[in-house]
Symmetry: C2
Subunit: 249 residues, 2 copies
């Protein structure tokens, strides 16, 4: 049982698709900027038709040549790096409206695996074309700089979490972050499905899966949340917030 978005995904014919691509679901990419109708059209011509990615499939893998950024039109992905000796670190979870692949610009190779955690759709943004267009549309150029900067800020937040927080604080921060991001997209902030395993959460948060499981159980015991496998209901968000800020050491 999946909650349905308040932003309806209607007609998948090309015309509508492009329209909704730029206007609606690619919010992080497009909404914040005031493009003229003409500029919007130009942008549309670059963005390919939405491409479906099945659950478990890779959008790209580390080492593959970089050609395009990908805007998630619908769905949920994890990004992860694998160290030489085979350890996986999930570097992020990405949902509708977010842009993936910016790490690859630096070397022209993807540095992460991007794996769909549910059936998803992405729009491809050929990077060279986007660069060219962004030279002609200053606001678009600025927007790309902003998006990459935002990714850096996000990563700093994760570093703070990994470097300073205790297990339960990390889990609380993680749940609140997801909650907020679902809310922005018109889904319920208090009740949502985790798309990832306990192990993937653990990898992201620098914890073992058993610790994740135990923390969730404890939150449930204390009446902060309700857990039913991957369905999370947040009962007492304020207590979760307090948990994060109380951890002064």
């Amino acid at each position: 049982m999946t909650t349905t978005p308040h932003i309806p995904v209607r007609d998948l014919s090309l015309k509508h698709l492009r329209q909704s691509c730029v206007n609606c679901s690619l919010r992080e990419l497009c909404l914040p900027i005031g493009l003229s109708a003409e500029e919007m059209r130009e942008l549309d011509t670059l963005i390919t038709q939405a491409k479906p990615i099945k659950r478990g499939e890779a959008l790209y893998r580390a080492g593959e040549p970089f050609r395009s950024l990908f805007a998630i039109r619908l769905g949920f992905f994890k990004a992860s790096v694998i160290s030489e000796d085979g350890r996986e670190q999930v570097t992020g979870f990405h949902m509708t409206g977010e842009l993936m692949g910016m790490d690859a610009v630096s070397s022209d190779l993807h540095t992460c695996d991007a794996i769909a955690l549910e059936d998803s759709e992405v729009c491809e943004l050929p990077f060279t074309d986007m660069e060219e267009l962004s030279r002609r549309i200053p606001i678009l150029q600025h927007h790309f700089y902003k998006l990459m900067s935002r990714e850096i800020v996000r990563d700093h937040g994760v570093m703070l979490l990994l470097g300073n927080m205790k297990a339960e604080e990390r889990i609380a921060a993680f749940l609140l972050n997801l909650s907020q991001r679902f809310a922005i997209r018109g889904y319920s902030a208090s009740s949502f499905h985790l798309r990832m395993t306990r192990e993937e959460i653990g990898s992201y948060l620098g914890l073992k899966l058993e610790t994740v499981s135990r923390s969730l159980s404890k939150f449930q015991e204390n009446g902060l949340i309700k857990v039913q496998n991957r369905l999370i209901e947040i009962i007492n968000p304020d207590a979760l917030k307090q948990l994060i800020n109380n951890c002064q050491q």
Copy 2:
């Protein structure tokens, strides 16, 4: 006793300063790209005269309005974020030739403190001007995208370190990383001064200062390095590398 760079810093008169700024010490910013003489001149007109920052001073602080990126012409900085409840997380150490402040593009506010760990000199790059210029010099635009992307990749590496590695592995990785970066700049790879305290190393690596101290002592006992306060001599780099890769769990 500080080692001197192989890249001499000669004359600080404006003319020489600008020349060396673009040609020499701002390697990460400028060297990789083949600008024409004319483009180089244009770039030079944007870059302000080198500004000295004394040890302990802030180049900028979180919350301050963002106007410019800063290229480190000479010196050593730490960047750190402070959480609401007052915990510091060092997000990076930055040295000659590196660019700081890219995190601030996203919100037009600095999100980190940047503190000089030794007397330093920076060149200021007004961001709006750089954006404008980068529209006319495609290779410059691409270079900025690359620099921001590289920062993201770096951060992912730190996340891997914080999420997966044990204390000694983190320290080993840290020492090798510093060693490599000094080497690139023409300093010794095997012998260098740490510019930061054990506590700052610990903050960066998600460890307490005592753990940092103990790990360094142990490395010394085992003949991997020599430690004399902040002077580090790397005796057996291969053993350090092995330490990092052996940690399969």
